[in-house]
């Protein structure tokens, strides 16, 4: 099981990842470790979420931590195509104002 994957390096500063499946307290430790490795050295991190079915507050906390780190480097986090249930959670918590949320397949191509 590999919830977090590198899709491709977009340029020197930007990387596209995907998060799939379910992120919760059971796998958060491993996912957080992978996130640290895969984002190391990048300022902009784009995350394709179209196959993310479930994320809990610990997963959201991990994403908040990522934004915090990247903001310090003038970077950003872009979430791509979150499913309705994930979007609802982002809106409920106000996190949609912290991340850029992008829709449509053109950004992934």
């Amino acid at each position: 099981m590999n919830e977090l994957k590198m899709i491709k390096k977009l340029n020197q500063d930007a990387v596209l990842l995907s998060i799939d499946g379910e992120i919760d307290i059971f796998n958060i430790g491993k996912v957080r470790e992978q996130l640290v490795q895969l984002t190391d050295g990048f300022k902009e991190v784009q995350i394709d979420m179209k196959n993310l079915n479930f994320i809990d507050s610990t997963g959201l906390g991990m994403l908040i931590g990522l934004v915090r780190d990247l903001k310090g480097k003038n970077g950003s986090v872009v979430l791509i195509n979150p499913r309705p249930q994930v979007m609802r959670l982002l809106e409920t918590t106000g996190l949609n104002t912290v991340f850029e949320v992008r829709r449509g397949d053109e950004s992934i191509a």
């Binding site: 379910e22 919760d24 307290i25 059971f26 479930f54 809990d56 507050s57 610990t58 959201l60 906390g61 991990m62 908040i64 931590g65 934004v67 915090r68 903001k71 309705p84 249930q85 609802r88 959670l89 409920t92 918590t93 106000g94 996190l95 104002t97 912290v98």
Partner: protein, 155 residues
């Protein structure tokens, strides 16, 4: 064929969820959070909640069980008790999640300020936002129980 048997069969084939109830006791371990999440969301689906409400219930249950798991050590609370009841007349699902952990002081719980980019403190806020009723009962040194209600057609 036994007519009585047949009528019983026809009755159950209409498959309406009247007053049904799930009780679970699970070990206080991260691996069991998804077990509870899936059991309760399957029940919610059976009882006629729409997809959005089922997702809300799934999230709220996950947050409450996760809190019970992570905020108490194994010695304090070995198990978590979950009780989920559907009330057909009220059209609501009432879920209680109980642990025997350390409890906490509710005075210290504040609304998270997302703009400060601090992680943590989201779980209870999310639960309160997406469920129709939430009652939290916690006693220091004794444990915590949270009762959450979701109504069909509510919120």
């Amino acid at each position: 064929m036994n007519p009585l048997h047949e009528s019983v069969y026809i009755d159950s084939s209409t498959d309406i969820c009247f007053n049904e109830n799930i009780s679970l006791t699970v070990p206080s371990l991260p691996a069991y959070v998804s077990v509870v999440r899936l059991a309760i969301s399957a029940m919610a689906s059976r009882c006629g909640f729409d997809i959005e409400a089922i997702e809300d219930i799934k999230v709220a249950v996950a947050e409450a069980v996760t809190n019970a798991v992570i905020h108490s050590s194994k010695q304090q609370s070995e198990t978590i008790k979950i009780d989920s009841k559907y009330d057909y007349l009220k059209r609501e699902l009432r879920i209680k999640i109980e642990d025997q952990g350390p409890g906490f002081d509710m005075k210290h719980i504040k609304t998270p300020d997302i703009s400060r980019l601090e992680s943590g403190g989201l779980g209870l806020f999310i639960i309160r936002s997406i469920m129709d009723e939430v009652k939290l009962n916690t006693t220091m040194g004794q444990g915590t129980s949270i009762v959450m209600v979701k109504k069909i057609g509510g919120n």
